[in-house]
Subunit: 143 residues, 2 copies
């Protein structure tokens, strides 16, 4: 698997973050399966970018993850608004199905250390936004 | 005003992002006023970090912004969950009170170009999180 390889990616959650990732990654040529508990969420997938699969279901249920062929996934991304769902699905992906790369979006910055402790890569948009603003203030306070 | 200067910063919205910024920036020695429509939001301000002021009110009302002494502000940060509130307050800060540095958090990535067009610096946590994940995938697809 290299960076130019076509990856098989399971995206859990089709909100703003999940749909953005699914659209972009599908458009880049990767094979995408998006899982969401609500079919209306899939409206955010744009036909000119997204050519993957949609699965309606609860990503904390093993049957749903199996339906998404998580055992074949190169990457699993937990992108729902519920960080517990993201972390739970990521743990199943990593520990039961040996998925090589697992990401989760977390909401509460305090969960970052928990994710690191269990070996899951996490991204906290709130922390990132705060850091970007503080860095910009320090570098260029008047622009 | 230099990067080491004590800045007067008005933070609008005391949710996760606003409170994180208010706590950090106050702890760094800046003078902070936080505005939120709900007093319970201020519970996220931690006494060991935050030593600024709290104002309960709607930041799209001129009287509330004046109460926050926005005319003296070096920086205004629109950090509520409603990007329209953030953009509106930022426009007042920039155009009416000539605040030198104005940031807004936006929720919908499509609003980025609108903010740029009106000269307001915006940060979209969703876009940042997606970019971080995609970059990490490209750089190191198996870690």
């Amino acid at each position: 698997m290299t960076s130019n390889h076509n990856l098989y990616i399971v995206v859990i959650g089709c909100g703003r973050l999940g749909s953005l990732l699914a659209n972009k990654l599908s458009n880049e040529g990767h094979s995408i399966v998006v899982v969401d508990i609500s079919t209306t969420a899939f409206d955010a997938l744009t036909p000119d970018q997204f050519s993957g699969f949609r699965i309606e279901g609860d990503a904390t249920e093993l049957g749903v993850l199996k339906q998404a062929k998580i055992d074949k996934a190169d990457v699993v991304i937990g992108a729902t608004h519920d960080e517990n769902v993201n972390i739970m699905a990521a743990q199943i992906a990593k520990n039961r199905f040996n998925v090589p790369k697992v990401f989760v979006r977390i909401i509460d910055p305090d969960k970052e250390s928990f994710c690191k402790a269990i070996g899951i890569e996490c991204v906290c948009p709130t922390t990132m936004a705060a850091e970007k603003m503080i860095t910009s203030l320090k570098q260029n306070p008047e622009s």
